[in-house]
């Protein structure tokens, strides 16, 4: 079980309001991802849920029980930190078993649980090493193991993969997703990497300056961004967003069109421009188009390869049903 409800939760550091009052519900078994630019308050929010940070106002409920005043260890949550926060003087075995030892569990029961966790995380061969003798990926696994043995009602992850190299990150991402499928435990995962958010989440919470911009499934956010911020934040490469007469033609203050929803032709189309840099990835090509008169640069994405040269004339046609329209306040027009 692990249904977490935030009710008018806010946080001030001194006079600075980092998180204005917000409401949020995370259902039992959900994989929720907090995503947003650096400094927007993701970690603070997570630490408030964990109990490491006091609330300035509001309440937090876990499974319909108000835990605002409950100490961190009694909330039944386990957290994995960005820096792993392993205990450097203890072996992997002792690290993973530490929470159980603090619960005064019998030593042989601890051993059994530690071995089971280590088995599932491929750590059996490293049980007697110290954290300093492990690779980054292995340390991360130990940190996860320490969370798993407690059998928590929810896992909290604070950018757990940001210290790993790209290849390992993809691997660990899959492992964590798989872990979630297997255990069906609530997970809250903080990241500023929107690819991680899109690939792992059932529910994405987009934050900006402590304010929730939108909550929804990855595809919701992709297809129906509620405002210009979410439109620009979710999707890679970024959505092309611009205002002006072209937007007014569509009855909006601002319109957005994703790079992959723009057709390209060398002969004719709605918008005319000049090819800037073309990035050839093999499977896709990203072309940066200048001099369209709409905005500085429009990015388009073409499946497969295309041969264009710097400075070539190029025509773009947006797919009419894929144009996102926003009003003067940046809110979506239905």
């Amino acid at each position: 079980m692990g249904r977490i409800v935030l009710d008018q939760v806010s946080k001030k550091f001194g006079d600075v309001e980092v998180i204005p009052p917000l409401d949020l519900t995370i259902e039992d078994g959900e994989f929720a991802v907090f995503v947003g630019p650096s400094g927007c308050g993701k970690s603070t929010l997570l630490r408030m849920i964990a109990g490491l940070e006091d609330l300035t106002s509001g309440n937090i409920e876990i499974d319909s029980e108000v835990v605002t005043e409950v100490p961190p260890s009694k909330r039944g949550l386990a957290m994995v930190f960005q820096s792993y926060a392993l205990y450097p003087h203890m072996t992997v075995r002792k690290n993973i078993g530490f929470p159980l030892r603090m619960e005064k569990m019998a030593p042989d029961e601890i051993d059994k649980r530690v071995e089971a966790a280590a088995q599932s995380l491929n750590l059996i061969d490293y049980l007697d090493r110290k954290p300093g003798q492990l690779s980054g990926g292995q340390r991360q696994r130990v940190a996860i193991g320490r969370a798993i043995v407690r059998d928590p009602s929810a896992f909290l992850f604070d950018e757990p993969l940001s210290n790993l190299d790209a290849a390992l990150r993809v691997g660990m991402r899959l492992e964590i997703s798989e872990m979630h499928e297997r255990m069906q435990t609530t997970m809250i995962y903080v990241t500023h990497d929107q690819v991680e958010a899109m690939t792992m989440a059932n529910k994405i919470v987009v934050l900006q300056a402590g304010v929730i911009e939108q909550v929804g499934s990855p595809l919701d956010l992709y297809h129906k961004p509620q405002n210009v911020f979410v439109a620009g934040f979710i999707g890679s490469p970024k959505m092309n967003i611009f205002s002006g007469s072209e937007a007014e033609k569509h009855g909006a203050h601002t319109i957005g069109i994703r790079p992959e929803h723009t057709d390209v032709s060398m002969t004719d189309g709605t918008w005319e421009g000049r090819v800037g840099v073309a990035e050839h990835l093999g499977s896709d090509t990203f072309i940066h188009v200048h001099d369209t008169g709409l905005t500085d640069m429009i990015t388009v994405r073409i499946t497969g390869d295309i041969s264009v040269k710097h400075g070539d004339k190029i025509y773009l046609t947006p797919q009419a049903d894929q144009i996102h329209k926003f009003d003067a306040k940046g809110q979506r027009i239905a």
């Binding site: 964990a50 109990g51 490491l52 100490p71 961190p72 260890s73 009694k74 949550l77 386990a78 957290m79 930190f81 820096s83 926060a85 392993l86 205990y87 450097p88 003087h89 203890m90 002792k94 530490f98 929470p99 603090m102 619960e103 320490r146 407690r150």
Partner: protein
């Protein structure tokens, strides 16, 4: 020249200087410890200058081992050093943990705490033995007199007075006596060296990883468990350093012992060396060699112990 030779050549002067610096005194001590060498002798004037013809073999060592003060000096050296180490490490850890938390006036408190370390050892000893521990004029004497006076006052009370008159008068302790002078030395040196331990532990505490503590809090560790399983192991190396440095320093305590009791019942090895060196350089040197052996023994033993207990 091969690429190994040049660096070696450039290091050579420093290494040579260090060797000379260490080996000459040690070599001379060894040499003197095997010959008869005294400063004054009317009967055997040939012993007053060091020479191989006065070779005595292990005679000096035997003489030292058989002298009545030697065992006492070793015992006393160990007792004083170990007590000081024990007290400074415990007090140092406690104080460092206490003042590591933010509180108003932190800066002033820290400076005040460090200040005993800047007092000269001889001055420290004079202050303690005369102004604090003196049974009549020192703080101790005044305090004991005050308590006795207070008790006297209580005895005057009509009914309760009968109960208080069962209490004895308090006697001030003389710290210059044979049995107590070592205690006085331990007190004054502990007072002086605790700041050193605090300073080193505090620096180390400031580099402690806060996320580890938060992880421990989430794992359900109590304040004591956090201290026991995170802070103490984290302090393992600084404790080893403090123990090591202090062991070396305190094995050679001299000024305090001289000032407190002139070695009366409270000799340590350096003091014994000093007594021998009044005339018998050979015996003093042999004692010096014993001191070197003892220092190494103590250092290795203590390091092992600290390493074992703290690093799990």
């Amino acid at each position: 020249m091969s690429d190994r030779k040049l660096p070696r050549l450039l290091q050579a002067p420093a290494v040579l200087l260090l060797l000379v610096w260490m080996l000459i005194p040690l070599g001379m001590t060894l040499y003197f410890s095997f010959i008869r060498y005294v400063l004054n002798s009317l009967r055997r004037p040939e012993w007053t200058s060091p020479s191989l013809s006065n070779w005595r073999g292990f005679g000096n060592y035997e003489f030292v081992l058989k002298s009545k003060d030697f065992l006492l000096a070793i015992q006393n050296s160990l007792f004083i050093v170990c007590s000081i180490l024990f007290l400074t490490v415990i007090l140092g850890v406690l104080i460092a943990v206490l003042i590591n938390k933010a509180f108003p006036g932190q800066g002033v408190v820290r400076v005040l705490l460090i200040s005993p370390f800047f007092v000269m050892p001889a001055v420290n000893a004079v202050l303690w033995i005369n102004m604090i521990l003196d049974p009549v004029l020192g703080l101790q004497g005044i305090a004991v007199a005050g308590i006795n006076e207070f008790l006297d006052g209580l005895r005057q009370i009509p009914v309760l007075g009968g109960f208080f008159s069962l209490w004895p008068e308090f006697e001030p302790v003389s710290f210059r006596a044979t049995q107590t002078s070592a205690i006085a030395v331990i007190m004054m040196v502990t007072w002086q060296w605790t700041p050193f331990a605090v300073l080193i532990f505090m620096t180390s505490l400031q580099s402690e990883d806060q996320q580890q503590k938060e992880a421990a809090v989430l794992d359900g560790a109590s304040t004591w468990s956090q201290f026991r399983f995170l802070t103490l192991p984290h302090l393992g190396r600084p404790i080893a350093i403090v123990v090591m440095i202090q062991a070396i320093f305190h094995l050679s305590l001299y000024a305090e012992i001289e000032i407190v009791s002139r070695g009366n019942g409270n000799k340590n090895l350096p003091y014994l060396i000093g007594e021998f060196a009044n005339n018998n350089i050979g015996a003093a040197s042999a004692t010096g060699i014993f001191a070197v052996i003892l220092a190494n023994f103590v250092a290795i033993f203590l390091l092992r112990m600290v390493g074992k207990t703290l690093m799990e």
